[in-house]
């Protein structure tokens, strides 16, 4: 036998404060984070925005930019900070591929760390990745709304119907009451 050095760093367990529920929805500003990847996510958040407004919430939609270079990345990060400081509740999506799941969870954790009731949204196939990324960032308990997979590439009407069907479950995930 011989003594060797581990090639892996010792795992540091991060423990952060939990994910608060939304509670009463009426009068709250709900921020929906979009990205530039999925048309289906635009349609889903469009439907959810209408339903949230019917339930008395005010909806703000923010689209995550793709940073081409450091300047844009810094500006994107500043924009996101401004967005989360202007809302009471965050919904971050869509985790529907490897990299977009990473950024959806990254931004969800950013909102959680700012103390906002938050849910991330991912499609079924990407749930394990989303949970692992949340756990790595100290949030095993991240509220995660799971959507059917595949969802991109379906007809718009069908996607909008799926969004409406999943609205109640979104509210449950968020811990929101009417």
């Amino acid at each position: 036998m011989v003594a060797v050095l581990s090639p892996q760093p010792a795992s540091a367990r991060i423990s952060k404060v939990g994910c608060p529920p939304v509670g009463g929805l009426k009068g709250k500003r709900v921020g929906l984070r979009r990205d530039r990847f999925w048309l289906s996510w635009d349609w889903i958040t469009d439907e959810w925005a209408q339903l949230l407004e019917k339930d008395g919430a005010e909806v703000v939609i923010w689209r995550a930019p793709v940073g081409k270079g450091d300047k844009e990345m810094v500006e994107g990060s500043d924009e996101y900070s401004a967005f989360i400081s202007s809302i009471d509740v965050a919904v971050s999506g869509l985790g529907n591929c490897g990299s977009c799941t990473l950024w959806a969870i990254h931004d969800a954790v950013g909102a959680l760390d700012a103390g906002l009731p938050t849910a991330a949204v991912a499609s079924e196939h990407f749930e394990p990745l989303a949970r692992m990324l949340a756990s790595q960032r100290g949030h095993d308990d991240l509220r995660l709304k799971i959507m059917p997979y595949p969802i991109e590439g379906k007809p718009e009407d069908e996607v909008r119907e799926i969004a409406r069907d999943h609205y109640e479950s979104l509210l449950e995930t968020l811990g929101a009451t009417r």
């Binding site: 050095l5 090639p7 793709v66 810094v74 490897g98 990299s99 990473l102 990745l129």
Partner: protein
Amino acid sequence: MTSSLVSERIEVPDDIAEFSKDALARGWSDGLPLIPPTEERVQAHIEAAGLDAQHVLGVLYPSGVSCTVEQLAVNAVMAGAPANAMPLMAASISAIADPAFDLAGINATTASVVPAFIVSGEVRDTVGLPYKHSAFGGQAGPAPAIGRALRLVIRNVAGQVAGLSSESVFGQPGRVTGIVTAEWIEESPWPSLGERRGVKGDSVTVFGVLGSANILNSYGSSGSEILEVIGKSLCYMGNNNMDHSAQFAHQLVSLNPVWARIVAREFPKMEDVQEQLYIHSAVPIENFPVSLHRPLEEANDIRPDGKVYLMDTPDDVSVIVNGGKGSLHGCMLPAMSNMLPVTRSLDPATWQSSR
């Protein structure tokens, strides 16, 4: 340089075959044989780096761990990478940790992307990197071990594990031994890649590539013809940056020395070479399946001339010169979208993140 090492000490079999089995079971391995990273071996690599063992090279994702010289050295020993490549490998880790490279996206994505390291300067000969025949793989030398060391860092420090933190549908061979090559600058009509990107002397430039593919043109009568063939090859419909969801990408092309001379006779300036590749890497919208017209239109990807362009501007392609003088072939390394190449000098004093 005196360094105190902080990695966990673990007793393992000293026989290489047994150690390799043990390392695989521990989740340290890519499946190929490994050298036990004893303290003595690791210290020698750290000494060669010329940096303190706890010097942080950058934060690597998805794990979010700050990668130290010590962690690089442990993985480099395991991979069999030579100690004299430590400065190059340290600069390479610093490069992939730059936010512009988007390592987080690269390591998590469904795509097969892998960092490709292009080395400029005299370090090519100090380390013994390939740049003539089979420059991208196949020539005996230290490049595969260096590439593998960087891949083991991605696995063991950045935490990229297939099917767990990486959703890559197919992966690719470059995810095992990496892609490490150098320029044949003596045969290049243009300044080195590093110099064109603002770094003189020894440097490494990292690109996120989806693999390498050969481009044959056995006629090769003029620079225009060669660049047209390459440009039209680059914009194949499934190139990541032809997709409506992609925002930008940076393609990499290598010209063999014979083609480089032919091209430079007609296009002495690199900007003109890039312009030709930009112009030719475009596809008329009617060539796309009808179902893709709407997504491409909504993404503003269709230009007034009715074409979808692979690149936003001619700056979105880099051209290097290497490979054998048998000519006939070019090499393209199509890019992952939404990330940028990053160049690092081998001088650590310049490694401040640009962010």
